[in-house]
Amino acid sequence: MTLVISHVTKRFGQMVALDDISLSIDSGEFICFLGPSGCGKTTLLRVIAGLEQVEQGSVLFEGRDLAEIPARKRNFGVVFQSYSLFPNMSAARNVGYGLECHGWPRAEIDARVQEMLRVVALSEHARKLPSQLSGGQQQRVALARALATNPRMLLLDEPLSALDAKVRKNLRIEIRELQRRLGITTIMVTHDQEEALAMADRIVVIEAGRIVQVGNAHQLYERPASRFVAEFIGRMNVLPVSAAAGKILLAGYPVGCEERTAGEAPRLIGIRPENVCVVTEEATDANGAIPARIRSTVYLGNIAEIVLSVGKGHEQEIVAEVPGHALRAISEAPSIAVRLPADAVKVLE
């Protein structure tokens, strides 16, 4: 374990920003802190960077307590959300700044700066000021600056949020490849679940100052630990159910659930739209389907989204995702029903 965070709590006045956070990170891992804005993910990153002090708990890096090491002596590379490039310095001087601080000899600084600018493909922009560079270029300078001193860890605070969609996707791949090549332990803060799923080895989902789930993309998507995770990562139909005679009932119809442990009486189940099966036949006890009516449809080309309602009296809304070409047959069918595959139904509460 490279970084061990144990029982860290941080308050800003009355507000609890971090609530008893514990987490271990392996050497060379790419970790994402994922959560909505204000959940504490940036604060946790700043604690690791040494930009915030904590009231309780400890952060150990390679066995040493970081509390006694100020930010400037930690040698962690940090890329800030707004990059924080020094506006009075050229790209090259920005990249060389950390090396100056660490007292490298001039010649070595120059060589290292050139090397780093080559790595981020900005050699020809070395003498430009940050204001003369595009957003993506500024981002790459910030990355080169953070990596120039051979930091022991790389911390990225929403590094891509200020960029437009296309640049963002390219940089995602670039950052990930660079990280793999250097083998540097990296923590990235993001509120963009797609970004987290695409880049991270492991994702730490944070809600209201607490870690709610840690896992890789598959685990989080397939086995969300809570309703929050289920809804935050991907889309999820969240359905209130009742339990009677050992069965789960959705709007009065029994629903199978493999995940359910014996004796558990769930109150909320979830199913992802792409797992909902829409069938163009009458629901019967034999086929185990639930009768449904179409409320609205959206055709998106390769797929179509159908909003359905099931049950009588207090109706439940279910969103289903079907192949685009199947939409016509479904909308024209005299009666339709939905089937919720038992292996796709999650217990949320």
């Binding site: 800003f12 040494g50 930009l51 930010a71 400037r72 962690f76 924080s84 020094f86 950390g98 953070a146």
Partner: protein, 560 residues
């Protein structure tokens, strides 16, 4: 010790209640000079105003209130100040409106004219008016008139011209920002132009107007140069302080009047700070800038007013320049350079003294206000509010009161500051602290715009606080530093009130020479000194402008 200072737990939410020495120490270092050079002299004045022959008490105040002459002088001061303030603000509003909201030609030139009085010693207006309308004034002699400029109206006109640029700068800034959408809606709703002005423009600039009123009020009631020269028998509080202290060496009475002057000045300064803090919130980000459209009637009317004010400002200063180049005003009006030989008591030395003092004030001022702004911004502690208060306190202190405080506090061999008492340096120090509030606010505004993120970025890259300050903060502040230096230089060259009690025959400054020479009737030499002061200020401004332009800071304003 060092490590305590360099940890970068900059407060993002609430300040931690653990106060560490590393945070408090810079506050103390920056705060001590403010206590010594601002608070302590004020306390001395306060103390002296209560000291009577029978010990401590209200005796001096009682004597003053019971004195019919003093009551009249106070009334004079308030009367003259109110008239001058109203006139100055109204005229400056029209002028600023013409510059910002009309299509009048040569607006850049008129703008320059409006701020012209800032380049000259504060009594140049009275000097010029005397040359124009005095007993030997060019107008009276040419047209055989008997206009008597000395007295109430003389002071009022001189004061209006003196404070005009200050009011103009404030109102011009207030009128510069306007939301075109409001005017468009007013127009769509069928409002007449006058109605739109009353319902949109006036309310939007009300804080600017109030700020201008308070600034002008403070400047006029505490100004003594103009009343000295043109007041005649009309005595005001500011000139009375001078009479009491210099004329009768009555420090107790001088202190009492100083305290009386301090009260309205302090109220006005505090109100102004409170008001200008609200000015900014009026314009939202979606605002659309207003582009004035041509309007012949409006522009003609505004042109007339702007033209008349400009003629007045220029005439008063031009006649001073003219007088400095004639053989003997008003008897021999042929060209002569003899007044620039400065064959008066100290020769040209006072001008050099002024330049040295202004350079020192610029240097010391930049360091002092930058340090104060830096500490207030970066070392938040419970003492920060106190430091901020001390830093802007001088805005409420009339120059003469501060100068008198310096005599009482430092003209005393047992005080360590006595070592520099009677030198040019103490005068520079007085100027630094007299103008501290404005310099500090310029500096701290600029520092606020430099994000804390740069400090954090630097820290994560291994940079200590000092390294960050030298390599990042200071270079980013450079244009502001030049601006602050120019500000201190300019004001130190022209000020009279803060230095009048501190000059000695050896450390006399040019602005004081103008007063003495004028007082003695050496009109031509006084004029020559004024011209030299203006020339020095203009040269310094041009040099600073050039420097900033070379480094690419064309937008940095230098005249404030």
């Amino acid at each position: 010790m060092m490590s305590a200072i360099v940890t970068t737990d900059l407060p993002r939410g609430k300040v931690s209640n653990r106060i560490r020495l590393g945070v408090l120490l810079p506050t103390i270092i920056v705060g001590i000079p403010l206590i010594v050079f601002v608070l302590y002299p004020l306390v001395q004045i306060l103390g002296r105003s209560f000291s009577t022959r029978d010990g401590f008490g209200f005796g001096n105040y009682a004597a003053m209130l019971g004195n019919e002459r003093f009551v009249r002088i106070t009334y004079n001061s308030v009367d003259m100040t109110l008239t001058s303030t109203v006139l100055a603000v109204v005229l400056a509003y029209v002028f600023a409106y013409a510059i910002q909201r009309s299509t009048l030609p040569a607006r850049g030139l008129f703008r320059m004219i409006a701020v012209l009085p800032l380049f000259a010693p504060s009594l140049v207006q009275a000097q010029g008016l005397v040359l124009l309308f005095g007993r030997n004034g060019i107008i009276n002699r040419t047209f055989g008139l008997g206009i008597d400029i000395y007295g109430y109206w003389g002071i009022v006109i001189a004061s209006v011209l003196y404070v005009f640029p200050y009011a103009f700068l404030i109102l011009s800034a207030a009128l510069a920002v306007a939301d075109a959408r409001l005017y468009e809606s007013a127009q769509m709703l069928g409002a007449s132009k006058w109605r739109a002005f009353r319902t949109v423009t006036l309310p939007a600039t009300r804080y600017g107007i109030a700020a201008a009123v308070f600034v002008c009020f403070t400047l006029v009631i505490t100004d003594f140069g103009n009343p000295m020269v043109i007041g005649g028998d009309y005595t005001v509080l500011a000139s009375e302080v001078y009479n009491q202290v210099i004329g009768q060496a009555n420090f107790e009475m001088g202190s009492v009047i100083g305290m009386v002057l301090l009260i309205p000045a302090a109220i006005a300064a505090i109100t102004e700070k409170y008001i200008s803090a609200r000015q900014h919130a009026l314009i939202s980000e979606q605002s659309k800038p207003l582009i004035p459209r041509p309007d012949r009637t409006r522009d003609t009317l505004l042109g007339l007013v702007v033209g008349m004010i400009s003629v007045a400002i220029v005439a008063v200063m031009a006649v001073v320049v003219f007088a400095s180049f004639v053989h003997l005003w008003p008897y021999r009006m042929d060209f002569s350079l003899r007044h620039y030989a400065f064959d008066v008591q100290n020769g040209i030395q006072p001008l050099w003294n002024s330049i040295w003092i202004s350079l020192m004030a610029a240097g010391v001022g930049v360091v002092v206000v930058t340090a104060a702004a830096y500490v207030v911004e970066k070392f938040a502690s419970p003492a920060t509010r106190l430091l901020y208060f001390l830093a802007i306190l001088p805005a409420a202190v009339p120059g003469m009161v501060l100068g008198l405080g310096y005599i009482l506090a430092f003209n005393n061999p047992s005080n360590p500051v006595y070592a520099i008492y009677g030198t040019l340096f103490i005068i520079a120090v007085a100027n630094v602290y007299y103008y501290h509030a404005q310099g500090f606010l310029i500096s701290s505004t600029s520092m606020k715009q430099i994000s804390n993120r740069f400090d954090e970025a630097s820290a994560t890259l291994g940079g200590g606080r000092f390294h960050t300050f030298v390599k990042v903060t200071l270079p980013l502040m450079l244009p502001t530093i030049v601006g602050v230096a120019v500000f201190f230089f300019m004001r130190s060259m022209v000020t009279l009130s803060a230095v009048i009690f501190l000059v000695t025959p050896h450390t006399q400054v040019a602005a004081v020479s103008v007063l003495y020479l004028q007082d003695r009737g050496a009109t031509n030499q006084a004029a020559a000194f004024s011209v030299c002061i203006v020339a020095t200020v203009v040269v310094a401004l041009l040099a600073a402008r050039l420097l900033l332009n070379i480094f690419g800071y064309r937008k940095m304003p230098l005249i404030r």
